[in-house]
């Protein structure tokens, strides 16, 4: 049955309002997410300045990675990508720290176990 003729018109309004609300909810949360995405991009760009292969190497790849997901609309998926990006931020920080530590250790502490 395609149409429910006996459907309460009040119920229909309700459904419409609900759809509208969901629509707005997604738009609002996407807008809130937009600033998060921008902050993530800026943070990664900043981290890229110290990248061993050079900032331009990092920037081009970073840009490509973000562009690949530019059509994502689902807030859940965007959140997932944000989490992935923030994970990379932590990894990069750890990488730089370790690289510096190892270089210094090699230069200043030659007798090591």
């Amino acid at each position: 049955m395609l149409f429910k003729f006996d459907q309460n018109p009040k119920h229909l309004y309700h459904q419409e309002a609900k759809d509208l609300l969901v629509h707005y909810y997604i738009r609002m949360s996407n807008q809130a997410l937009k600033s998060k995405v921008k902050l993530l991009y800026r943070t990664l760009l900043h981290l890229g300045k110290d990248y061993p292969k050079g900032p331009e190497y990092f920037r081009s790849r970073l840009h490509a990675a973000f562009m690949k997901n530019k059509d994502l609309k689902d807030p859940k998926q965007i959140e997932l990508m944000l989490a992935k990006g923030n994970y990379i931020v932590k990894e990069l920080e750890a990488l730089y720290m370790l690289r510096k530590y190892r270089t210094l250790k090699k230069r200043y502490y030659n007798v090591e176990s």
Binding site: L39, R42, T43, H46, L47, P52, E93, Y96, M97, R99, K100, Y101, T103, L104, K105, R107, Y108, Y109
Partner: protein, 257 residues
Amino acid sequence: MSGLRVLVGCKRVIDYAVKIRVKPDKTGVVTDGVKHSMNPFDEIAVEEAVRMKEKKIVSEVVAVSCGPAQCQEILRTAMAMGADRAIHVEVDAKNYDTMLPLHVAKILSKIAQEEKADIVFTGKQAIDDDANQTAQMVAGILNWPQATFASKIEKVDGNLKVTREIDGGLETISVKLPAVISSDLRLNEPRYATLPNIMKAKKKPLVKKTPKDYGVELTSTQQVLKVDEPLTRQAGSKLGSVEELVQKLRDAGLVPS
């Protein structure tokens, strides 16, 4: 809050990852257009001071740097890591070339007295001149106890219990405050100065001073005669057989003939 104040020395040096080049006239190394950053050992000192603040052992962390105007970027980094305020002692490029650890130590001592610091914290040495003198000289000038090459710091009954890295092991000492500490590599793992924190650090106070404000004359007692590249490692060669290798080892006197 305990009310203790820490003064941390932060030197601006050529970034550790940069390949150092000697100037053709052998008067020094090329610094123009080269990436600079905070001396890694000083970074460790800043980190430790900030951690002490987080543990409420100290209440204020003041970062100090002596050198040209660009040192302010280093101080911003220190403040992004968690230092509360900064003092920049501006030294122009010409005088900075002949500035010695003794001058820095005199300035740091004077600031420590003026700011009523309880701890002066520096890196054990800077990765550019590798002098390893500043902390020791500050302790000498102020007549404060020193705990150099610290790899662990705890506060025990108003004193600091410091584990020091010494040849072939560790030494644990207790120092009364006020004291001078210098950090070793294994003391901690410095945090990264994040972008939002760098932005916030721009609002933290930074005071500009000159060596004259602290009554220090930058007269140099030494002169750089020559700066040379380290010797390059000699290239190896590929050998065809074991006999050849044994012959070479014999020639070098490494195996009995």
